[in-house]
C-alpha cells in the first residue's frame, strides 16, 4: 500500500516564475492538505481540498492556488515566485469522517518537494 507520494522531490526556479507541485494521496484517502515548511520551522497550513473544492485556507496569498482531481490527487501552484517561497512543501492526505458529530481525521504526510527560488 503506497503512502503519500509527491513530485518532484527537488525544484529550482527563479523569481517571477510559476511552479506546480503534485501529490497523490494514500490509498483510501479523499482529502489533501498542503503545508509549507521553512527551514527551522514547523509546517504552516496552506489549504485543504475535499471533493475537488478548497475547503479551508491558511494565511497565504492568492499566488498560492490548488486543484484536486476526481482521483483525489492534487496540485499546488505558486505564481510569481518570491525568494521567500523557498521551502519544503508538504502534502498530507486523510480520510474525512465524523465521530460523535466531531470531524476526526489523521493526516499522513508525504516526503515533500524542496523548492529553491533564486
Amino acid at each position: 500500500d503506497a503512502g503519500v507520494t509527491q513530485s518532484p522531490t527537488h525544484l529550482i526556479k527563479t523569481r517571477g516564475q510559476q511552479v506546480t507541485l503534485r501529490c497523490s494521496p494514500k490509498s483510501g484517502h479523499d482529502t489533501v492538505s498542503w503545508y509549507q515548511q521553512a527551514l527551522g520551522q514547523g509546517p504552516q497550513f496552506i489549504f485543504q481540498y475535499y471533493e475537488e473544492e478548497e475547503r479551508q485556507r491558511g494565511n497565504f496569498p492568492d499566488r498560492f492556488s490548488g486543484h484536486q482531481f476526481p482521483n483525489y490527487s492534487s496540485e499546488l501552484n505558486v505564481n510569481a515566485l518570491l525568494l521567500g517561497d523557498s521551502a519544503l512543501y508538504l502534502c498530507a492526505s486523510s480520510f474525512f469522517f465524523l465521530r460523535n458529530r466531531r470531524h476526526s481525521e489523521t493526516q499522513y504526510f508525504g516526503p515533500g518537494t524542496r523548492l529553491l527560488v533564486l
Binding site: Y35, G40, G42, F45, Q48, Q56, L90, S104, T106, G112
Partner: protein, 112 residues
C-alpha cells in the same frame, strides 16, 4: 488565536535516559492533538494522537503522551531513549477546523 508551542528547541540525552518534551496549546473547546517525528532524511511520521477518552495515549516505539486539559499540555514521554530516537519532534493541534497547527519542533539528539 490558536497556537501550539514547544519550549524545548534542542534536547541532548544519553542513551537510556528518560525523555519528556513539552507541548502547550491554546484552543477553546475540543481539541485533537498529535505528535509527529521526522527522522533524518525521512518524512513526517505520526507517533501518536489524542481525540478523546483516556488522556494517556500510547504510540509507536514506546512513546506516550498525556493530555492535561487544566494545563493545556500534551507532553511526549519515553522512559528510556535509544540512539535511533535522534530526530525532530513536532506537536500539532486541530480544533474545529481542518488545518493542523504545528509547533516549531524539538530537535532531539541521543548520544550513544
Amino acid at each position: 488565536a490558536q497556537s501550539v508551542s514547544q519550549h524545548n528547541h534542542h534536547v541532548i540525552l544519553s542513551e537510556a535516559a528518560s525523555l519528556e518534551l513539552g507541548c502547550n496549546y491554546s484552543y477553546g473547546g475540543t481539541v485533537n492533538l498529535f505528535w509527529y517525528v521526522q527522522y533524518p532524511g525521512q518524512h513526517l511520521q505520526l507517533l501518536l494522537k489524542y481525540f478523546s477518552g483516556d488522556p494517556l495515549v500510547k504510540g509507536i516505539k514506546g512513546f506516550e503522551a498525556e493530555f492535561i486539559k487544566s494545563k493545556f499540555s500534551f507532553n511526549l514521554r519515553k522512559p528510556s531513549v535509544q540512539w535511533s530516537d535522534t530526530a525532530e519532534y513536532f506537536c500539532a493541534g486541530a480544533s474545529g477546523t481542518y488545518k493542523y497547527i504545528f509547533g516549531t519542533g524539538t530537535r532531539l539528539k541521543v548520544l550513544a
